[in-house]
Structure formats: C-alpha cells, structure tokens
Symmetry: C2
Subunit: 420 residues, 2 copies
C-alpha cells in the first residue's frame, strides 16, 4: 500500500469540483461540492443513528438502497435538518437538479448537507448555480480540493488521503475526503466522508467492507459527545481498475473479517479501506473544535473487543480527562473514574495506566493504585501534540483504540456562538 | 413548610463542627468535618454507581447496612479512591478514631471523602486532630458552617437549607448541606449530601423517602457527564421531634409514592425531603464548575416519566447545548439533535421548544420545525442567570425536570489543572 495524491480524484474515472453559491453568507469559501463518476458504480453508505435525521440523510438513504450511485452533491452552511416537508423537497430537488445536469437518474445521487440546523435551505441559490457546479468538475488534485473546501465548516485543516494497492495484479486506488470537527461522537456524528475507488467490487462486498472499516474508525471517534443529525459516509466503486471483481463470501457479518482470510482480494481491499478511514479519523480528532491535541486511548488485555471499546470511549469522552489532557495534568484517577462509569464489567484492582507520546512513556497506575512517577516527566509527555493513554486490563487478549481530543477554551468559544 | 436557619444543626439533637487538619496543603480552609447526633438514629444512604468506588464509600456501605448511624466524618482535599488496601484501612481508621472520641460504635459512623483521586489519605493528620474535631462540635449555625466549609472543594458557594414541617401536630425539622460542583452527573456524581432530621421515622420509611427524593433531584443533575467515585447522600433521623413514628406501607417501591396518599405523615415528610434535595440540586447546578447560568430542562407531554427524564438529561448534558447557553445563542437545533441521540422513542415532528427566563418566554420550534422569532428577544431571555428550556412532546401527560449549567471557559480552566 502506498500513499498517493489527488484525494477522491486519484481513482480512475472520478471527477470532483466545488463552487461558491452563497449559502454561507459573508464567506468567500466554496459551499457547494460535487463528486462524479463517469461510469456506473457500486456504492455503499452509512448514516447517523440520530433519531432526528436531516432531509439529506433521508433522501440519500432512499437512493443508496439499490447499491448504486454515480454522484454526491453536498453543501455546507446549512444542515437542512428540522426543516420538515419543505426541507425534504429541497433535498430531493438538489438531487434532481444535478441529475439533470449530469444526465443521470436522480436515484444515482447522494445528497449531503452540513451547517446550522433549523433553517430552510436556500435551494434557489443551488438551482441558479447548478450548471456552474457541473462545469467545475476536474479529474485532478484541484478538483478534489475545490470539492473538499465546499464541505468544510469549522474545520481548520483539510482531511483527505489516497492510497494505491494491488488486487489481481492490477493497481487499485482508494481516495477520500472528510469534514468534521465538532459534534462528533460515536456513532457517526457531524462528519461527512466521501470515498471513491476504481476497484471492481460487488455492492455486497463494498457494503461489508465499509461497515467493518467504519466500526474501527469513525465510530471510535469522539470530540464532544454530540451525535449529529447529518452524518454520512459514502463510498462509490466504478471498477475501472479492471481487477477481477472482489466478491466477499456471502453470509458473514460485520466483525467476522477474520473469516475472510481465504478471500485474499477482499482482505487487501478491506485493510486499505480501514487504513483510509482510520487516517481520516485521526485527522478529525486532531482537528476537534478548539483542540490542541490528538488523544488516542487504547484499552488492551480485555476479555472482549466490545468491552475494550466501551471503556476506551468512556475515557476519551470524559470532559475531565479531556481537560486534564489540555492542562498536561497526569490526573490518572480521572481515567479510572471514567472507566468506572462506562457500564462495563472489569476489575479495577487489575488496571494499569500509562501515558505515552514522542517524549516517552510513563506508567502512572498499576493494579488500580498509584505508582511513584516523575510529575515532571509526565507533564513533558502530556505536553506533546499527540498523546496516548494506554490502559491494560490484564483479563484477556482483546483490544480497541478510540480517538479524541482535549477540551479547551476555544471549544467553548467556537460553540458559544457558532451561528453568528 | 417554612424555611429556617442553621442547616444540619436545625433539627433537635444534632451538632456539627469542622477544623483544618492540613489535608489540603496551602489552604486556610477547614478540611475535616463532623456531624453527630446525641441520640440513636434511623439512617439511610445512597452511593455512587461508579464501578470504581472510593474506600470511604465501601466503609460507609458496610456501616449503613443495619439502618443506623450517629455520626458522619468527612474530609476534603483527598478522595481516598484508587488507594487499595491501604486506603481501605485508612477509611476504617477514620471511623474508628471518631467513634472512640464520641464513645459510639465504629459501625455508627459514615465516612466520606472528596478531592484528588489516587493519592493515599494522610490518616496521621486526621489522627492527630481527632479530639480537636470533637471539640469543634456545636449545635448552632456556626457548627453547621464549620462542617460545611470542610467538605467544599471547587465549590464557590455554600449549599445548605433547613425547613420545618408539622407531623402529628409536632414541629419536625430537616436540615441539610451539600458539596459538589464538578464531576457531577446522574447518577450521583461527585457530590456529598448530609441530611439531618428530628423526625421519628423507621429506617424503612426513611430509606424509601430518600430514594424517592434523590431520584427526582440529585439524580437529575448534570454538570459535566462525569460520575465520581465518591458520592454519597446520608440522612440521619433521631426522633427527637417526638411525633408518632412515620412508618410507610411495606411493599411499595420507588416511584410508587402516589400510593402513599393514605399515609399522610409519610407524604408530608417525603414532600419536604424532596424539596430539600431539589433546592440543593439547584444550588449545585448553579455552582457547576465555571458555570455562569443555571439551566433547567423540562420535558412535558411525554408518554412516560422515564422517557421525559432520558430526553431532558440528554439535552442538559449536551456540550453543544451548554456552550450555546453560555453564548446566549438560541440554537434550538442542538436541542432537537440532543433529543435525537438520547435513545428514546419520540416523534420529532411533534416537538415544540421554548426558552424561558425572568426576561420572558419565547417559542423557537413548533412541530419539529423553526418558527419565526425575535433573535434579539431570545438573546435577552438566554442572557439571564437562570434559564429554562421547555420541551413539549405532545404524546402524553408525563414530565421530568433536569438541572444543569452552561459550559464555559472557566470549566476548562478549573479542570485543566485541578491538582496543582
């Protein structure tokens, strides 16, 4: 697997573009985005689990149902959520408008929105600019960048990646972009992720692989505990790499990827997709609203992966742990405390905790109790931009990693008055 | 019911005191607290649900088992949590030391601790000062205040209350103190609550009444989503009011208080205890770490009280809602969003939301959608120190109220470096 450039435009046959249509008043940035494949695609998607779903989510859920898509249209500046029938009509209209321009079926379009909730989407601005959006399509890095800019909200960094692998002797590429920095919490909170690949792969295998990858990446990301109304991850595969189609064995569910060892091609694709999703996840955690640090929490030695995940999420979500990370304070008692209310069964007297970063590693808790350690060294370790909290349960061999960030003054500032 | 003074010393036969024994280095405040009844007491208590329990919690759970207590000893500056066998020995020693001084049984003592986790309790400091602690006992307001100061940590305000009611023609008093401002979340996070009453009441009725009251007060309080290792609420009733003992009907559980209508005395006591607990809860929410506002969330028109509580807690706990309250931003979409991930079943298209304070009331959402409203007026309403978020589900007649606070720069500041 090697890293390559051009994001969603890296795989053969994909184009992307973005323009400014004025949904974000007062901004000079793009706010309308398009990704398009000139061939038919297998497609898969996952959506927010929030009971309150944006109109765009509802429309995209309808359109993905048959496992086929050729385009994703997305806007920032308006979430089109809590907007009732009028909002639903606007989301459908968004799909229809771009489908007409591209001469494809409206059911081949996924629609995504991000921004403020409860304000009607100014669909007339999109209508007026729809042909300019099509014209902006390019198959290079610039097309990718224009599309990516148009989905960003409070993001301060671009999140994208592309990799190349080999399947069936053919080079296969996966490209991706994501947005998301606040309101991020399992499962799948305000984030949009758009992934393209030229792999030949069945809708079934693509869906399975996406679920496996999201489970171990985006669904293990937490910024502020809020799960948004708008999240979605979409992947489209157009087969232009001309490998023998990746099928996957029918009948195995998520988490059973170990059973796919016989299906080498699936495993190669799956591993690359997981890598892409984990890298995007790390970028989002690092860019959590107001965050100064990427905080990685790994629970190992667990009796099950589920338990490890539950405990790691509780630690990464704790406001007190997050504030301690901001202050570079080795307050490991808060780590144990957060594990204690996770709702998981474990023996506190067997827990060890260490902090780690490029400045070193230090154990602060052994068998549930304090151990002597240098506060100075711990402070140095926790002052780095990427820190790890390593927790050992000593009861089994399973583990899980969760990504989060610190809680800072700027988080409060950004969210105290996001709308104005 | 009338409000009276002197807190836990208001009921007949109770004394309280507090001294500085040096557990909090560099502080001039009291850090060791005692409440004592010169008569035998019925007693009841509730404890943290955190899997990681402080040594003081474990010892108090043992001692309350027979429904009798006569004293509560508490320290601040050290939580005596994650301290293993040495910590457990220290907590037991704390009970033994004061029991010897007071000539009562160690099993008649509840032990409480609050402060930093993972550091051994300096029990020798308590030992050296134990007779001074006994000497500090007084039956007046000053005794109450000295005891209360000694349990405060990051609290910026004193939380106490006392009321007088009439049972069986006799005046009966309930007095209380509490500490808690951070790490507070259902159920029963870092808070200590000590309640005294001179009512004659059986341990069974006292326990039932405490559970009913805590369910509708402390367990509906959220500051930062962290549930501590150390919380407890203890109530002692010494019977000196000489009313006919309040019994309560055997066999009815929590939440069935409606069935107690026949037992008028129980209901009078129960109502007063709930009032005391709710008032303390409001004081704690108002004094949430760094908080500038008390935020009350009420969900009504619900099919069940449980659902109303679940939804209200999700809204009051949302970092985004809390930050919007800080910024006086009428971002009601975040309210709906937080309801959406609460895990409760409801119809978003039937939800109405209003904001209310002493500056007025304004509806911002009707039937799940935006309604035209004055942003200026909303800002004025949300700029008050006490604000209410009123949510109507339009599906039934049940309701629940939850108390929280805003998320501010100071929360981050306080928790970024609490230990130093």
């Amino acid at each position: 697997m090697k890293k390559i450039t051009s994001g969603v435009c890296a795989p053969k046959g994909f184009m992307a573009g973005g323009i400014r249509c004025g949904i974000k008043p007062g901004s000079q940035k793009n706010d309308l985005s398009l990704i398009y494949s000139n061939e038919f695609c297998s497609a898969a998607a996952m959506f927010t689990e929030n009971k309150v779903k944006a109109a765009s989510v509802l429309v995209s859920q309808e359109n993905i149902a048959n496992g086929k898509l050729r385009a994703v249209i997305a806007n920032s500046g308006n979430a089109n959520a809590c907007t009732g029938k009028q909002g639903l009509d606007a989301a459908r209209r968004m799909a229809n408008l771009i489908a007409d321009e591209l001469s494809i079926a409206p059911s081949e379009v996924a629609v995504a929105s991000t921004g403020v909730i409860g304000v009607q989407l100014p669909i007339e601005k999109i209508e007026k600019n729809i042909s300019a959006l099509k014209t902006s399509l390019r198959s290079d890095e610039a097309g990718h960048s224009a599309a990516l800019e148009a989905i960003m909200t409070t993001d301060t960094r671009k999140k994208d990646i592309a990799v190349e692998i080999e399947i069936d002797g053919k080079p296969v590429r996966i490209g991706a972009m994501a947005k998301g920095s606040g309101m991020i919490h399992p499962n799948m909170a305000t984030m949009l992720g758009f992934i393209t690949t030229d792999a030949a792969i069945t809708p079934y295998a693509l869906d399975l692989s996406l679920r496996c990858a999201v489970k171990k990446s985006f669904n293990r990301l937490t910024v502020d505990g809020d799960t948004s109304t708008n999240d979605m991850v979409v992947i489209m595969a157009n087969g232009k790499a001309q490998n023998k189609p990746v099928i996957g064995h029918y009948g195995l569910g998520i988490g059973d990827t170990g059973s796919y060892l016989k299906d080498k091609d699936f495993n190669v694709f799956n591993e690359a997709l997981e890598y892409v999703c984990v890298e995007l996840t790390r970028m989002m955690a690092r860019d959590g609203e107001g965050a100064t640090k990427l905080v990685t929490v790994t629970v190992s030695g667990s009796g099950s992966e589920e338990k490890a995940e539950l405990l790691a999420k509780s630690v990464a979500s704790s406001s007190l742990v997050k504030a301690a990370c901001f202050g570079a304070d080795a307050n490991w008692g808060r780590v144990l405390c957060a594990m204690g209310y996770a709702g998981a069964d474990f023996d506190p007297s067997k827990v060890s905790v260490s902090f780690k970063s490029r400045a070193g590693e230090i154990q602060v808790c052994s068998e549930g109790q304090t151990v002597p350690f240098s506060e100075e060294k711990a402070k140095e370790i926790l002052s780095q931009e990427e820190i790890e909290i390593l927790i050992l349960l000593s009861e089994g061999s399973h583990k899980a990693t969760v990504w989060g960030c610190d809680l800072t003054y700027d988080y409060v500032k950004i969210n105290g008055d996001y709308r104005s």
